[in-house]
Amino acid sequence: MFVHLHVHSPFSFLDGASPLERLIDRAAELGMEALALTDHDNVCGAVRFHRLAQGKGIKPIQGVEITLAGGGHLTLLAKGPGGYGNICRLITKAHLDNPRGTPQITPEDLARHKDGLIVLSGCRRGPIASSLLQGDYDGARELAEWYKRTWGQDFYLELPPPHLPGGRRLNRLLAELGDVLAIPLVAAGNVHYAEKADYPVCDLLACLRTGTTLEDVHPLRPLNGEDYLKSSREMETLFADYPGALENSCKIAAACEPALDLGRNLFPRYPTEEKASHLLRRLVWDGAHQRYGSLSTGVRERLEHELAIIEQLDVADYFLVVWDVVRFANAKGIRYAGRGSAADSAVAYCLGITEVDAIARGLLFERFLSLERAQKPDIDIDFDARYRDLVADYVYDKYGAEHVASVCTFNTFRARSAIREVGKALGFAPEELDALAKRFPHIPADAIEPALDHFPELSFLKGERRYRLLWRLCAAVAGLPRFIGTHLGGLVISGVPLVEITPLQQAAKGALIAQFDKDDIEDLGLLKLDLLSLRTLSVVEDAVAAISRADDDFSYLHIPLDDEETYQMLGRGETIGVFQLESPAQRALQARLGAKGIEDIVASVALIRPGPIKGDMVEPFIARRQGKEETEYLHPRLEPILAKTYGVILFQEQVLEIAIAVGGFSPGEADNLRKVLSSLRSQRELDELGRQFIARAQTNGIDAQRAEAIFSLIAGYAGYGFCEAHAAAFGTTAYKTAYLAAHYPAEFFAALLNHQPMGFYPPQTIRLEASRRGITFLPVDINESGPDYLPGEGTIRISLGQVKDMGAQHLEAILKAREAGPFAGLEDFCRRVRLPRNIIANLILVGAFDGLHPNRRALLWQLGRGDGTELLPPPQIEDFSPYQKFLYEYSLLGLTAGGHLIGFLRPKLGQRGILARAQLDSLPDGKKVQVAGLVIRPHRPPTKSGRTVVFLTLEDETGIIDVTVFENVYRRFGHLLFSHPALIIEGTLQKRGAGLGIIARRAESLPLGDARSPAPSPPG
């Protein structure tokens, strides 16, 4: 028998070609009783490996192939949790004591953390093997003696597979050394993939790792396909001369125990002298009195119910940690909003973590936390993006840097990244790959070939023989991790020092990250807290500050939720810039729905989601909301659950309530059902679940036929929607941003422009929308513009910060110089401010000096080729044309104070009978029209029929119009929709409610001519 003790998974990052699932399935097929995982300098795969291996009855042995100072490799195996802890410490040290991306460990550190480890001398890149291959027998012996002294009987000489040049001789020398020094041998497979057929993928990954093409030679590329998971018999044949080395693999495996203990509670204890549960109770009841005043029996019972579950699950500290974080944010005036299923908790509401009254909304706590699922709570909080890191710093300070880190993410190959990287290894030109990759939607890398049939804009690639290997290899790397990254908001907080549980390493932006993602962190029993950056909150903060400067009485908190003007604006579909409601689908929905209250907004947020869309719930909801259709229920028991959403399932909580009312499920069981429904992998699984549901419904007094229909209803929804608590949290912010847009457009849109990029639309579209609302945009002015967009009375001044290449230090220099008084002209400016030439030129070209000199071209000539220290005499020269000025502004600012690219083409478009957006309002529904515009965000959302429908927005100088392209038209014109910046669309005008759109019949590219060319190069 034999046990593989040196195995790499894809978490060796481009040095492992088979997913862990495949490796373990293969090990199970080969009848292996134990298996080690030894990735390069990390244990990123440890939790999955542990779970998967135990699921197949295989003993998981945790290990690592660590890089030594000087670049050699050493195989470390954990005998148990203690050894695993030392592996984590060593990996952490290897990463943090060295420049990022070059982990190395010194012999001294190895010796310091030697306990609980079995050490194998490593592959051919191990220090001993490497010395022997270089003919340095004495050096090899000296090293071996040191390892033996340090680890005694726990040190083994690793015999690599003899498939490489010099391999047989190397093993003879290792055996000789073992004899001389009485060091036992162990055979190892140095596995990098499950089966021999995976070798090309491993070789390809090595090319990506080394930046080579397949035709290049590189010493780190695998020479052959022998690094697969060999059977015991194959290993016995290979190492027939060393039977003891085979036996020792089993002996080592027997000495190692699974090192991970999943499901523990390693939460930090909130630092308090009082018992955590007592403190929590006190805070909750205090908060409840503040929220509700006097407490009804219902409120008391609900809070007791939640507190009892929290105490039974021993997660009181978690709530206290989160409460403390929001308390800090409150104290610092940092805007925040709890989101997600935490808003199902009345306790979270009373602690001030969320603003959703779970009791008043009748939200089920079990969607958040239940005894049956006994999962760890997971609370997400959005913060003003500018201050999120300040909050994170507070957490670091509070719990100590050794207890806090960021959660990692694993960036995996998807279609675009695979095409770019694999294509490069195949020798394609970067420009060709870039163009190719951009054509593909965001799909998995193994969906490329099916996509060629599915998407008409890709069909021209079908017959291309030269891409066949590229597609095949892209599919082979699909889903494999490329590199480790930082989770956007996730922090892990541990009750024990983190390095005992997870290695830490430095991320690109400097944060320390754990080597586990959010799911693994939860499995390890660590606390995960999502502190997210939400730019919308920054927009709100800035807009509120600007409004408050002019209006002392304004209070964001007390914005009335029944403001008629806001609902009228929503009803016209004028929602560009409004949080959650600005997508074309949402704009169209708002124009038809006619929202009249905050509940309509909450429903809207949840309605445009894959679950309700695929479940065909949008149209019935609108019709019933407007009283055009009777609300019907499949069973009377559904009425109290679905009445508030007019008989359709909009929220995840409703799935739970149906399972409880119809199937007699407990709340925890019901949430399990929801979870399973949302992660179904096959029809068979769905059928089985359906049978269980129907059987339980029948025992609950509901006939099979109706139970089946009800199950179809919840299965159609399948969990791909918002939970009501989340929708309620988002809905309130959505409404309030709508209110700001309706009543304070200058302040709101200025704030929105200050925090780009965010939302759905580019700055020019936001400018256009603000202009449509009557806001005048003032151009960049060297004496008037500030670092940010400045709202005035019905105006917004474009910021200096918007000018291309303007850095913070340049801005500061300008503003500091301006403190001494306004600039009198270009000469005065150049004398008082030292800036790179390109920035001065950009300021001239966007019109920043127009107030001081009317001729931009003349100023540019004056600047010449210099940096402004010496200006040329002013020339007599004609200024740029309005069109040229427009192009410069557009290219250097990303928006213009006035004008539009399509406006310049209007005379020609008019001759062809192509209408402007503004002309469509007066035309009747069903009218055949032609429009033209810049294409904004063409996309293909899921549809109930499964057919492809493309939605895009065209923008012209008078506004925007949404275009729907159904499959038959898409098949003919799809190749234009995703690759042309401007289009002419011919179609039928469709008026639904207050909304207006076009159903496309044909499309053609709109040649932009000069308008498409880059801005002319500045002279000089």
Binding site: P162, H163, L164, P165, G166, G167, R168, R169, Y199, P200, D203, L214, E215, P222, L223, N224, G225, E226, L426, L469
Partner: protein, 81 residues
């Protein structure tokens, strides 16, 4: 060293290793297999795997030969003088 890409005939021993090899006009008997390794070949161009042997012959010659597993053919790669 000479590089000779020519096809050869190989007789194997009981372990399946080369015992002798020949080409028109010459036959060499293997005295010792000095080294043996595997090469993946240019898989992206359809090439199969090769097993490479470095051999010492009874007449004192040092040779590199390989077996092309995809084609089932043996080739003489190098002769070391």
């Amino acid at each position: 060293m000479k590089v000779r890409q020519r096809q050869i005939e190989v007789l194997l021993d009981q372990q399946g290793e080369p015992a002798s090899f020949s080409w028109p006009g010459q036959r060499e008997v293997v005295a010792e297999i000095i080294d043996k390794w595997w090469e993946g070949g240019r898989w992206w161009a359809g090439e199969g795997e090769m097993i490479v042997y470095r051999l010492l012959t009874r007449r004192g010659g040092l040779y590199e030969i390989h077996f092309h597993s995809g084609e089932g053919t043996w080739w003489l790669d190098r002769v070391f003088d």
